[in-house]
């Protein structure tokens, strides 16, 4: 059991961070603090995605520079592609678990790269997080101007008072 957890300690840490964020959102009464908790929760989810895509010994997914001149660009691209296929085949037989894994092991040239797809997804999620945060803060500023407070208990009391006053008229 400990061995399983030890191999996945990054996910354990990320889950604890996510729960801290969720706790901050639910526990606080202050509207700004709740938004801070929300962005903490979202940032931790980004960490979950990115740790998923990490490959040990891998490099950032930026391929080697190969556009010295446009002349031999396609030649190089062709050769790079050729290099990829034979390297992949060669890497396949030396890769320790090649037998168990049906598909060929995908390496580009001789270097191993981390998985670029989670990075793209998280670039989108960061922007969504900031967009939600800015609309939330705009609402908090308007609430403060019309209610005079940003504590949700005080706001509920104010609403309840207005309701009961209106009901008696």
């Amino acid at each position: 059991m400990i061995e399983i957890i030890a191999e996945r300690f990054n996910f354990v840490i990320v889950i604890i961070l996510m729960m801290t964020g969720l706790y901050a959102v639910v526990a606080t009464g202050n509207l700004v603090k709740r938004l801070v908790g929300l962005s903490l929760f979202q940032t931790s989810v980004f960490l979950l995605y990115i740790t998923m895509g990490k490959v040990f010994g891998g490099q950032p997914p930026i391929l080697p520079e190969y556009s010295e001149g446009h002349g031999e660009n396609d030649a190089y691209a062709g050769e790079a592609a050729a290099a990829v296929t034979d390297h992949a085949a060669e890497a396949a037989d030396i890769a320790e678990s090649a037998a168990s894994h049906g598909e060929t092991v995908h390496h580009a040239a001789e270097a191993i790269y981390s998985n670029p797809l989670p990075h793209v997804l998280i670039l989108t999620a960061i922007v969504v997080g900031v967009a939600t945060l800015s609309v939330g803060l705009a609402l908090v500023v308007r609430i403060r101007e019309s209610y005079g407070t940003i504590e949700d208990e005080a706001i509920n009391h104010a609403d309840y008072a207005v309701d009961s006053a209106r009901r008696n008229t």
Binding site: M18, L22, V25, L31, R34, L35, L38, F41, Q42, V45, L48, Y49, M52, L117, P118, L121, T124, A125, V128, A131, T132, V135, G136, L139, V140, R142, I143, S146, Y147, D152, I155, D159, R167
Partner: protein, 509 residues
């Protein structure tokens, strides 16, 4: 309908899935820089007409040619993003296109009355972004792209609800609570999609479906299922997760409530159906147990509890908002049966409910534009001065109860038949009980309109008021639709059956 679709040039129809989403998005950018509200409304009207026509063309394409698939950017599905339309989301396209168009025609006087002049064109732009987001969620075949469109429609919805603050400050707190709960729901959905990606390695829903059956014992997939159901349940206002809906619908501008009530929860319900039937493997043990315990039981509790809460409401729109939560319970019951008959009854109710609630909220908006009504007692004696609106409201109310001669009857009928086929007599009992409770709160409002004497101070003003034509037109189109589709139900029923059959045939059968 084929005639209408043949109007469009063939090349346009092949790219229809892309254009139907892109037109509102780009028109939203154009509407934002319009100098005044009327121009903004004109741009919005043109864009919704184009989208409605394209929705028609796609529906005809789906009926003739089965699944319509469109690869974005020309990249094949697992690498690129794919738009995938089958019988299931064709129904959604029809509902969003038709209701969006009717709401926009309805919008001009209602928005002019409630939003200040300077902000109207921005308001229309936000509406167009929400409209495009809902269509995007309905069409896309890529899990993460569905999250992006869910966020597009949600962020613009928070803003639209918040714009109700010019008439009632509680719209701000309603929008804030909706934002926090909506974002938690969306983040749970992202966690679920992340786990699915971790288990299957792909983001395309059809591709995921082929890989999930042999992963059904993996705990990552089970956790993904739990998170996706909670996330989408929050968006669809499923019973225990519906706390944001009553305030959001009660304090938003009238136009926003009438549009959201008839489309937003429906799209979220569609995403639940899509994930349950076409992505996860329905025969997997953890999915099968959820049909009864999560969807059917919660749906029934939601039906009864929300309807009871609706009876005791004082604010007219809050009453209808609680009734909407109850109606979502009906759809969940249809989904929970897990049979084709049950799902098609659920989809039929989805279509009918969008017509009923659209008519009811539009009628309330028409009442409000003259007298800014808030409480039910403000509705007293409106039948004398606004007969057209009152009759339309009555038809909508009766359809909500499920009285014969209105379309609500068929959805209750098919739900009952599907429940009996399933042997769930207790579901039929719950259906009848919640219809009786619905009769209680609808009767309460109709009594106020038809029977009660108008308040003495407003008696004079009430005598000669009438809603503007632009509002009565869409209202009466929906009221007539409520009755017309009672006598000609086969079109809607064929769409609902096609949706159920598409859901059952999709995924890894």
């Amino acid at each position: 309908m084929e005639f209408l679709a043949s109007l469009l040039p063939a090349s346009l129809v092949t790219h229809a899935p892309a254009i139907i989403v892109v037109t509102p998005l780009m028109m939203a950018a154009v509407a934002a820089i319009m100098p005044n509200g009327r121009l903004g409304w004109a741009v919005t009207l043109i864009s919704t007409i184009v989208s409605a026509l394209l929705a028609l063309a796609i529906i005809v394409d789906v009926q003739t040619g089965g699944v319509v698939s469109y690869a974005m950017g020309g990249w094949a599905p697992p690498a690129g993003i794919e738009f995938r339309i089958d019988g299931l989301n064709a129904v959604l396209l029809m509902v969003i296109g038709a209701l969006g168009l009717l709401s926009v025609i309805y919008a001009l006087p209602s928005v002019a009355d409630e939003i200040e002049e300077k902000k109207q064109s921005l308001f229309y732009s936000a509406f167009l972004v929400c409209f495009a987001g809902l269509i995007g969620v309905a069409i896309t075949g890529d899990a993460f792209n569905m999250f992006v469109f869910l966020e597009i429609s949600s962020i613009s919805t928070y803003v639209l609800v918040g714009m109700g603050a010019s008439s009632d400050r509680r719209a701000l707190t309603a929008a804030y609570n909706y934002l926090v709960l909506g974002t938690i729901g969306a983040t749970f959905f992202v966690i679920g999609v992340g786990f699915l990606y971790m288990a299957t390695g792909t983001l395309n829903m059809a591709d995921m479906a082929t890989r999930l059956p042999d992963l059904s014992d993996s705990r990552v997939v089970q956790a993904a299922f739990a998170f996706i159901i909670v996330g989408l349940g929050l968006k669809a206002a499923m019973f225990p997760l519906h706390l944001w809906l009553p305030n959001a619908y009660a304090y938003a501008p009238n136009f926003v409530t009438s549009f959201l009530a008839s489309t937003a929860t429906k799209v979220a319900f569609y995403t639940l159906v899509r994930f349950l039937f076409d992505v996860f493997w329905p025969e997997a043990p953890f999915v099968e147990v959820s049909f009864l315990w999560v969807f059917a039981i919660l749906g029934i509790i939601g039906m009864i509890v929300a309807s009871v809460q609706a009876v005791f409401q004082d604010d007219a729109r809050r009453l209808l908002a609680f009734s909407s939560v109850g109606q979502v319970g009906y759809m969940m019951l249809g989904l929970g049966m897990g049979t084709a008959a049950g799902l098609s009854a659920g989809m039929l109710h989805l279509i009918n409910h969008s017509m009923m609630k659209g008519a009811l909220f539009m009628a309330l908006g028409a009442f409000a534009i003259r007298f800014g009504i808030r409480r039910i007692s403000d509705l007293n004696g409106f039948a004398r001065s606004m007969p057209f609106t009152s009759v339309a409201f009555t038809i909508g109310g009766l359809s909500l109860v499920g009285v014969p001669m209105t379309v609500g009857f068929w959805s209750k009928w098919y739900l009952g038949v599907a429940a009996l086929e399933n042997g769930w007599w207790w579901a039929v009992a719950a259906l009848i009980l919640s219809s009786l409770i619905a009769l209680a709160y609808v009767a309460r409002m109709l009594a106020a309109i038809w029977v009660a004497e108008p308040h003495h101070d407003k008696a004079g003003a009430i005598a000669h008021a009438r809603a503007p034509w632009l509002m009565l037109g869409p209202l009466w189109v929906l009221a007539i639709a409520n009755v017309w589709f009672f006598f000609q139900p086969d079109f809607l029923i064929s769409m609902a059956n096609a949706a159920a059959e598409a859901a059952f045939s999709g995924g890894a059968r």
